[in-house]
């Protein structure tokens, strides 16, 4: 195991009689980008809030760079920047004043402006934050998480309200910082966005971890297939299966692809049998599909 920066062990939390977290354990390695994924109400924000020492938990242990974190011990949070749920904004302060207010003593004006430039907020950073659009507020929230150059950055749904350009900019910033050794824990519903970023994935459902591991493992479990549209689908299915191709049970002609599958062979086979091919699509089950499968199966896997 490489250096871990964050270690969560057996974390449990109840809200009244409802169990929101059940024995959650995971660790995050330094410099990794870790995605925290799960349906609404699965406990993503609760986990993040616990790591940030926002409430007491009845059992479990959270350590940050070796130091324990709880509601009553906050020392380790010096190394953390975060955006949880939605950004908190004082309407009477400008964006820049927010950054000045929350920046540590050692952070210079120049360093603050660097963050502003990177987030492309220069044109409105001196305006009162109450005039900001949803996306601008979101960017300010992210800038606040970055401003003290923390070792661990926790972002809850950071892509909320961002336009495609801002989304791409944010991705670049996160990847750059990760290269320099900053660790990220990011939750998001927009799985296609997360997919482009993360090294490791934690899937949580009903307060339990259902998958924990790297992206490659999850992807290797998925299948690639070729979906054909032909002049006679029923006949095409028969011919393909007689010739040893594995078919996926569906309305379309869907052939399981592996290294030996060649499109040319299939086209030749079908055209010699007088079946016209109208369209061919490659389907690669992405993170979203794998994830939905995982949540549907509802089985607890430990990676």
């Amino acid at each position: 195991m490489a250096d871990t920066i964050l270690d969560v062990e057996g974390l449990t939390k109840n809200f009244g009689s409802k169990k929101v977290l059940k024995n959650v354990s995971f660790s995050v390695e330094k410099g990794h980008i870790v995605g925290l994924v799960g349906p609404n109400g699965a406990g993503k924000s609760t986990i993040m809030k616990a790591i940030l020492g926002l409430f007491n938990y009845p059992s479990g242990k959270i350590t940050l760079d070796g130091q324990p974190v709880s509601q009553t011990s906050h020392q380790a949070l010096e190394k953390v920047g975060a955006l949880i749920e939605y950004p908190g904004i004082y309407p009477f302060l400008s964006g820049l004043q927010h950054l000045e207010l929350f920046s540590n003593d050692g952070v210079s004006k120049q360093q603050i402006m660097d963050v502003v430039d990177k987030m492309k907020m220069g044109s409105y950073i001196k305006r009162k934050a109450k005039t900001y659009s949803l996306g601008m507020k979101q960017k300010l929230g992210i800038a606040l998480a970055l401003v003290n150059h923390p070792a661990l950055i926790i972002l809850d749904e950071p892509m909320n309200g961002l336009d495609p350009q801002a989304n791409k900019d944010l991705r670049t910033i996160i990847l750059d910082l990760a290269k320099q050794g900053t660790t990220f824990l990011i939750s998001s519903h927009i799985l296609s966005e997360l997919e482009k970023l993360i090294d490791d994935l934690i899937v949580i459902d009903k307060g339990q971890i259902v998958y924990r591991g790297d992206m490659a493992t999850l992807e290797s479990g998925s299948t690639r297939s070729m979906v054909l549209q032909t002049s006679d689908d029923a006949k095409a299915k028969d011919i393909l299966s007689q010739n040893g191709y594995k078919l996926i049970d569906s309305d379309h002609v869907s052939v399981v692809e592996d290294e030996t599958t060649k499109m040319a062979d299939i086209i030749k086979l079908l055209s010699t049998n007088n079946i016209e091919i109208e369209d061919v699509k490659h389907v690669h089950s992405d993170l979203e599909t794998s994830l939905l499968d995982l949540l549907k199966n509802d089985k607890v896997k430990e990676g």
């Binding site: 809030k49 940030l52 020492g53 926002l54 409430f55 509601q71 009553t72 906050h74 020392q75 380790a76 949070l77 010096e78 953390v80 975060a82 949880i84 749920e85 939605y86 950004p87 908190g88 904004i89 004082y90 309407p91 009477f92 302060l93 004043q97 000045e100 207010l101 929350f102 003593d105 606040l144």
Partner: protein, 257 residues
């Protein structure tokens, strides 16, 4: 802790209401001073000077509003999480807000006091002397000073309750109402209270009676009605403050955000 107090002051300084209330305070004081100069028989210049040209009552009003919002605004704006998930302890966050309010109230009183002296010099230079005896034994200047200092104690008795209520309800409206009623009710219910205290003497320890402290400092004869000595009123006020702030502290530490 110094950093946290500085951050609270930063927020206060950048709020328009902070400066607006200061200006309103000075304007109102000027208006009362001018009225008193033109109609000295209706409003006695010496009496109104001692009350800082009604400035103190307005300070109470503004401070109740400020204290009730200093915690509830963080819940309202959703900034409470940002405040709490830093390296600081929760208790430190709360105490830094209290300290900011203490500094703010001192600023207000100092502002009103200095401005009262200026108004006296400009408008009442020939009317009365600051060294004249006023009421029992002290000079006008010393009486004004004592009124302000004892008023500061009563102000903080109210503010400690306002801070507690704002913290309990996460909303400033309830805290503002109770604070204002609490402070100004004393004038309305004092006669009823005096009758009640005569009948059930243990009632003399209720917090409303403690609000008589500033009045009794100036008119010691009030002790026949409050049934407590001036020092007992001071100690009682301090004890209530500690109780209210203590409850606030433990509520805030336990709160889930």
């Amino acid at each position: 802790m110094v950093t946290l107090v500085r951050q609270e002051i930063f927020k206060l300084v950048h709020k328009k209401s902070t400066w607006a209330t200061s200006i309103i305070l000075l304007v109102i004081m000027t208006i009362f001073a001018v009225i008193s100069r033109n109609h000295p028989n209706t409003i006695d210049p010496k009496t109104i000077f001692v009350s800082l040209f009604t400035g103190f009552d307005w300070i109470v009003l503004f401070m109740i509003a400020a204290a009730s919002s200093i915690i509830s605004m963080e819940f309202q704006y959703g900034t409470i999480k940002e405040l709490l998930y830093r390296k600081y302890y929760r208790g430190e966050i709360l105490v830094s807000k209290w300290l900011a309010m203490v500094l703010y109230s001192i600023y207000f009183i100092a502002l009103a006091f200095v401005y009262s002296l200026i108004l006296k010099l400009i408008l009442f230079n020939g009317t009365f002397q600051l060294s004249e005896t006023y009421g029992n034994k002290h000079s006008i200047l010393v009486t004004a000073l004592y009124t302000s200092l004892s008023g500061f104690v009563a102000l903080w008795l109210v503010l400690s309750l306002v801070l507690l209520l704002a913290n309990l309800f996460k909303s400033s409206a309830a805290a503002i109402s109770v604070g204002i009623i609490g402070y100004f009710a004393i004038n309305v219910v004092s006669s009823m209270l005096i009758i009640a205290i005569k009948k059930w003497t243990w009632l003399k320890w209720n917090p409303l009676n403690m609000m008589n402290y500033p009045n009794q400092v100036i008119s010691p004869s009030l002790k026949h009605m409050t049934l407590l000595s001036t020092n007992e009123l001071l100690i009682g006020s301090l004890v209530y403050m500690v109780i209210f702030l203590g409850i606030s502290y433990s509520v805030f530490k336990r709160r889930n955000v």
